[in-house]
């Protein structure tokens, strides 16, 4: 099997695409032109659902200039309010029926290779939905050193968000939020079968960071009927992350594992860390099975919850700012469709086509929420 696998290696290398840019750079390979179509479905135990279709294209215009386009359409459905107070992430208007909204997203990008070892990248992102709008500019530079054994990738991003709130009369109140984000990724080849990668990131968020629909219960003179106020978070937040990972090919079993660890902390006092391990295994020369496991835990933010309702206090019911841990496990299967094109000249186009399907189950240990979610994703990729 190994000899057969190696004869297909050049094709596989050519099929590696944008997301594996650093791997391609390590391999000294050229990114293939490709089209990809993805379908994604999310459902949680509160019956919130998100259905997404995404299309992406990467095309080399000239020898060293590559353009990319990504178009994504989402439909989010939030069930009717149960208690009308906490955890409700939808407008209270027409609260007895499901809240459904559509979202469109487009990302256009250009990547230019300069010389043998330098790549410049620029992207523009725009998304629109009835109560949210986002515009982003992304720039980056990637530099190879030591015969492409060491790669430095630096990225910067600026995001302007308009956070809308659908009011009782149907009008929309918009609030401003801006985000600056910087990331440095380092990748180092260790051997012909292993590389290590690290990252450092800083995010600065300024503006409206609350959920405009979420309300917080506060004590009142009648303990049976608590008062409610609108959630209020600080306007400024600095967030940092460091990460480290290793990818290792296991020749004897035609498999590979990837291990990643990240640590996050911010000036709201929230600190968290996550570890992810994934094992990818060829079960035939055209089929890959990939189980994975992810662990995450976080300490709650320290600025407190209800603090008296004064003008300088912050009030939240956002579970993402509380103490909790989560686990996730998934399995992914990928197939190179060349298996179906062999000995069929008319189906030769399948030689560059691959499909994948993934299921991921997620649950956290919060009480009483016990949030659980299921994610399904399928992808079809055609390289040309």
């Amino acid at each position: 099997m190994k000899s057969v696998r190696r004869t297909g290696m050049a094709t596989r290398a050519a099929m590696a695409i944008a997301s594996a840019a650093s791997i391609l750079a390590l391999a000294g390979a050229v990114r293939a032109d490709e089209i990809e179509y993805s379908v994604y479905y999310f459902r949680d135990n509160n019956k919130n659902t998100v259905a997404t279709s995404a299309f992406s294209l990467a095309k080399t215009l000239y020898e060293k200039t590559l353009i990319s386009l990504n178009i994504e359409m989402d439909q989010t459905t939030v069930p009717p309010l149960v208690d009308g107070v906490t955890g409700a992430s939808r407008p209270s208007r027409q609260s007895k029926s499901a809240f459904r909204k559509n979202r469109g997203q487009i990302i256009g990008g250009v990547e230019q290779t300069l010389g043998e070892n330098t790549r410049l990248m620029g992207k523009v992102y725009f998304s629109q939905e009835v109560d949210y709008q986002s515009l982003s500019f992304i720039g980056g530079i990637s530099q190879d050193f030591a015969q492409k054994n060491f790669i430095v990738d630096i990225r910067g991003q600026y995001i302007v968000d308009s956070v809308g709130e659908i009011l009782a009369d149907g009008s929309i109140l918009n609030r401003f939020k801006e985000t600056h984000l910087g990331t440095v990724n380092l990748t180092q080849v260790l051997s012909p079968t292993a590389f290590v990668h690290g990252c450092v990131g800083v995010t600065r968020i300024n503006g409206f960071q609350s959920d405009p629909y979420r309300k917080v219960e506060i004590p009142s003179t009648n303990p049976l009927v608590p008062d409610t106020i609108i959630e209020r978070h600080p306007d400024m937040r600095w967030r940092q992350v460091v990460g480290l990972g290793v990818n290792k090919y296991l020749r004897d079993i035609d498999g590979a594992f990837t291990i990643d660890y990240k640590y996050y902390w911010d000036d709201w006092g929230l600190a968290s860390n996550t570890a992810h391990i994934q094992f990818n295994k060829y079960i035939t020369k055209d089929w890959i099975v990939s189980p994975s496991y992810r662990y995450y835990d976080q300490a709650g933010a320290t600025y407190g919850e209800y603090q008296g309702g004064g003008t300088q206090s912050y009030d939240t019911e956002d579970y993402k700012l509380k103490l909790f841990g989560s686990n996730g496990a998934g399995i992914k299967v990928a197939c190179f469709l060349r298996a179906f094109g062999r000995n069929r000249p008319a189906w030769e186009f399948l030689n560059n086509t691959a499909v994948s399907a993934e299921y991921f189950h997620y649950f956290n240990d919060m009480v009483p929420e016990n949030f659980t979610a299921d994610l399904f994703e399928t992808k079809l990729r055609f390289a040309f």
Partner: protein, 75 residues
């Protein structure tokens, strides 16, 4: 994590990278590095859909592929 721990983690990262820098892998030796199974995404793109789920449901952000705000962010 204390500042000392952060510095230790960063130092370990730098050490790993520096040690790796001692090895030079030639282009013709990189066959396995280019294999799709060396990529957590198996050579497919658009990992942002799953990353975005974590970003919008947890206190984690950064060092990923998710960009922009919008759908799901206010949950």
């Amino acid at each position: 994590m204390t500042l000392k721990s952060q510095l230790a983690l960063f130092a370990l990262t730098a050490l790993a990278l520096a040690l790796g820098g001692c090895a030079t892998v030639k282009p013709f030796e990189r066959e396995m590095l280019a294999d799709p199974i060396m990529d957590a995404n198996l050579g497919f793109g658009n990992q942002g859909l799953v990353d975005k789920f974590f970003t919008t449901r947890e206190g984690s952000i950064g060092c990923g592929t998710a960009v922009g705000g919008g759908c799901g962010c206010s949950k």
